[in-house]
């Protein structure tokens, strides 16, 4: 089968600041970065507590864990996100016991996803979202949904080597808006797109 053409991101480049000034992307070493991960494979699993799949996922609501390179996030009481490389996600999904009422939906195209990383990333989120981003309320691994700049987002705290990092996903159609808003909120902390 022919390879699919490249994935079109909801976020267009070059990046532009609130004031309309182009922003040069920076390297991964920058202290506060925002990266577009929209093309990452994201599966949505729906499974009630009576199903085997529920037990297999063994990731309670509001928590996340990684299995075989796939991030499993308990986004709602009966809903999980599987995020990772396509092969790995498909493999994990393939292992799920689909008996009972279990649904598997490819959310890759429907969800934009960004990664906000850096010591100050919670400060950026604090400007946009009314949830408490302090460590004890939102520790590494926490999976939560809430309104970010008036867009409902699913957010997983997924630290990278001890550096606070958040995977933020939203409905694809809001992708450009949300990316711009986060970049803008991060300006005072020196945020850079990656």
């Amino acid at each position: 089968m022919a390879e699919s053409p490249a994935f079109e991101s909801p976020v267009s480049t070059p990046y532009v600041s609130y004031g309309g000034v182009p922003i040069e992307p920076s390297g991964p070493g920058s202290p506060l970065t925002l990266q577009d991960h929209s093309s990452t494979t994201k599966f949505i699993v729906r499974a009630g507590s009576e199903t085997n799949a529920f037990r297999q996922l063994s990731t309670p609501f509001a928590t996340s864990r990684t299995e075989d390179g796939v991030l499993i996030a308990g986004q709602r009481p009966d809903e999980w996100f599987l995020v990772g490389r396509e092969q790995a996600v498909r493999a994990l999904a393939g292992r799920l016991d689909r008996t009972g009422h279990v649904s598997l939906i490819d959310g890759t195209h429907g969800r934009a996803m960004f990664r906000l990383t850096g010591a100050g990333s919670a400060l950026v989120l604090e400007k946009l979202c009314g949830l408490d981003w302090n460590d004890h309320m939102t520790p590494d691994g926490a999976a939560v949904s809430g309104s970010v700049a008036k867009v409902t987002c699913d957010i997983v705290r997924n630290d990278l080597d001890g550096v606070p990092s958040y995977l933020i996903s939203c409905d694809r159609s809001f992708g450009q808006y949300l990316f711009d808003v986060i970049l803008d909120a991060g300006q005072e902390f020196g945020i850079q797109p990656l």
Binding site: S9, G110, N134, M137, K150, F174
Partner: protein, 947 residues
Amino acid sequence: MTRLPAQPGEVIDRSRPVDFTWNGQAMSGFAGDTVASALVAGGVRVVSRSMKYRRPRGYISNDYWDPNGLVQVGDEPNVRSAHRLIEPGMAVEAQNVWPSLERDLRAVTGLASRFLTAGFYYKTFMRPAWLWPTYEKVLATFSPGGRIDPDTPHRYHDKRYAHPDVVVAGGGPTGMAAALAAAGAGARVLLVEHCHRLGGHLLWGDEHDRALAAELAAAVETAGVEVLVDSTVAGRYEDNWTGIVQRSHPVAVERLVKARAKVLIVAPGLIERPYVFDGNDKPGVMLSGAVRRFVNMYAVRPGSAAVLFTANPDGDAAAIDLERAGAEVTVVDARRGEGIVRALGGSKGVEGVVLADGRRLDCDLLVTAAGWTAPTSLLNMSGDRPVYDEAAARFFPSVSIGNVLATGGLAGDGTLDELIEHAMATGRLAAARARAVSHRLQAATARAVPVNGEEPEWPVDERPDLARDPHPALFRSTTHGVVDFSEDVSSKDMVGAAAEGYDSVELLKRYTTATMGPSQGKLETVNTVAVLAEARGQTIAEVGTTVWRPPYAPVTMGALGGRLFEPVRVSSIHPWHEANGAVFMLAGQWIRPDHYGDPAGEALNTRQNVGIMDVTPLGKLDLRGPDVPQLLSHLYTNKWMKLAVGSVRYGIMCGEDGVILDDGVTGRIGDQHYMMTTTSSGAATVWEWAENWLQTEHPDWRVHVTPVTSGYTSINVAGPKSRTLVRRLVGDVDLDPEAFRYMQVRTATVAGIRDCFMWRIGFTGELSFELHVPAGHGLTVWEALLEAGEDLGIRPFGVECQRIMRLEKGHFIVGQDTDGLTKLPAVGMPHLLKLDKPDFAGKPELTWALDDTSTPVLVAIQPTDPSVVPDEASQIVRPGTDEIIGRITSSRMSPTLERSVCLGQVLPEVSRPGSELTVVMIDGRRITARVMEHHAHIDPEGERVRG
């Protein structure tokens, strides 16, 4: 010059002179000066004119609340000149003066003041009625504020949320001490100070006070307390949601901090209360605090011959400060029964004073220290009702609210040590209570770190009460002084209003407008109450106060509004639309092409060749599970139990009141997999509506509803050549009209993109294919279509063209051709209502609605004159009358028929085909029109769509 030699506590930087202008004249001061201190240092005594009588006014309280100190700075009105720091080049002007501060011609009203008692306007200007608009314009010229410039941009404002354990309102000694103690007990503390630096009243105190202020401020810094200065805790709302406006911010003009305080400590100190006596608003009459700030913080001497009326140690201290500054001071001590009766002087200000014993003293400064007002505002917002204490002559907090604690001067008196001790105890208590709240919060929050151990005890409040110093109750209603300086209300006005029956504090307030001006009662509340009490022969406690409401201090609209988060949604083809001349329209949060320059041309082309439209905003819900048919049967009014795989059906949803909620098609994609489409604006509502039924009434139904609107880029390919075009890009589906029929759905690979859905449906009335492409490849498919269709005459079309075409075809739009009362039977689709189903949303109402003959129904209408297009919303009337019997809901000039076509709602009595209607055009003309047999003006048999 009244600038004094260097004072030990001065906050100005003499090495940095700052030039600015006052009413166009050059002035200068030093960095750190407020506008007020610089003006007074420059010899300015009169800064404003009073609101009603235009009397000259000078500084009285020399702080944010100073009712006389509001000035215009550039395009900014009502700037608090005793709070705003001067900046180079600042243009400061007196406001509310005409033509100038020195000579205000409206001051004649002052002469008439004996007639113009409060509320006089309610008794005059009634006749002749036609003159009232003129009176109105004249009255408006008395509006007291500065001016805005409509073109001032709303510059960058910012917002953030915060979740501290403890918020402390007030950065005086007690606020700082409380913050320190709370931080010491492990709390995360946000300390907020309204003025430019921490210290509160210590800043204008003696050497010992200033040292303490510096010490506390330094300790606060090292304790890791987050400090916001020049920031105001503007309001305390439900569940300790506090709004803080941060004025000095490095990036933004201002920033609104929305803090969910686990505990709020209120430490705003006290506000000095003016004394009510004849002439008390003459320039040069000042409160002791004002004088101390001028002298000690800004090295400004506000007068050289002072009479000082004092009832408390603060007044005494002011005398010492003034003497040190080289002024002559005569003390009139209220505690010894001495008093002042009347200030003397002319328009330039105070020149003398008459004492209670009849003596007359000359002076150019008359200082009063007559007591305090407790700014209980934040406590009131928390539900507290302050109680008056006769002995201390001020109000105190009454009830204890668990998560709001008061300390400092607001809570009581004592030595600084005692106050600080109370504040520390308050800080510790706050930290302990915050711990309990935090534990509870964390334990209840699913995502939080699990908490260990028992919930901490809710600590009891064991703080010893602060003492209350006795204070003379210095209230006089008979001397006719000014009570409300902002509103120009005197005690005489109040006594008169009370006699007229406006004799409760709330009525008095509304009739005289006392406490309703910019100082909002901070200076005048207690005096207002005292005057009323005296007039009614009641006690102050019996009269009570008016209600304090947010904000604590006036804050800008810019800070509150900040930047509005207004999300926008776009499809993945949006960049192409932008690059190709689309004219956009807003549809809810979506931005989508209305047309590409020629909607009529787009329509004709689509009827003749082929057009493509980006219909991504169309709501799409993925439905899975064995009980989807049940859900569909419940949501829609028609039948769904036997939809075959690969088939699509149209349905209408109604609310429980029978009113049409939404419509759309749903297709069965797999055995237990369906795709539902909704209107663009109805997508979220329908989703929540479906969830509601699933979660509350039918938890036994196994259905997963997932919104996938943006997961697919939706493209409508319409027109007689659409099959030819689609065939060029789709290889894996038999597109033969017999194999893939109207109202069917297939999974397809389009232009190499797998997992697309393809429906044979269309809103335009043409043969059409609706492609739903995984959104990450939407643009690819769009461009592939354009390329492949070039020789077929392909053109993109927008919403306007779609509206024309759907109207030609007679399809109604929910919310446009229906309204908030339109029930299903009114749209003339009886086959969609299946009352033999056991249950569905709105069933009873729809059953009853079938018998209704009084509500309008939807019909197609054509004006007799084909060139006339009645505007949408034109009314249909009974001929020869103005009685409304219907309205045009949609209308367009049809490019295909070259005539006007409409849909409309009319009463059943005139809904029969051929009925003649009278339509009232917007310009008043009446035209005739005819009810058509079919909703569709074009192709009523539907041959084109089936083609």
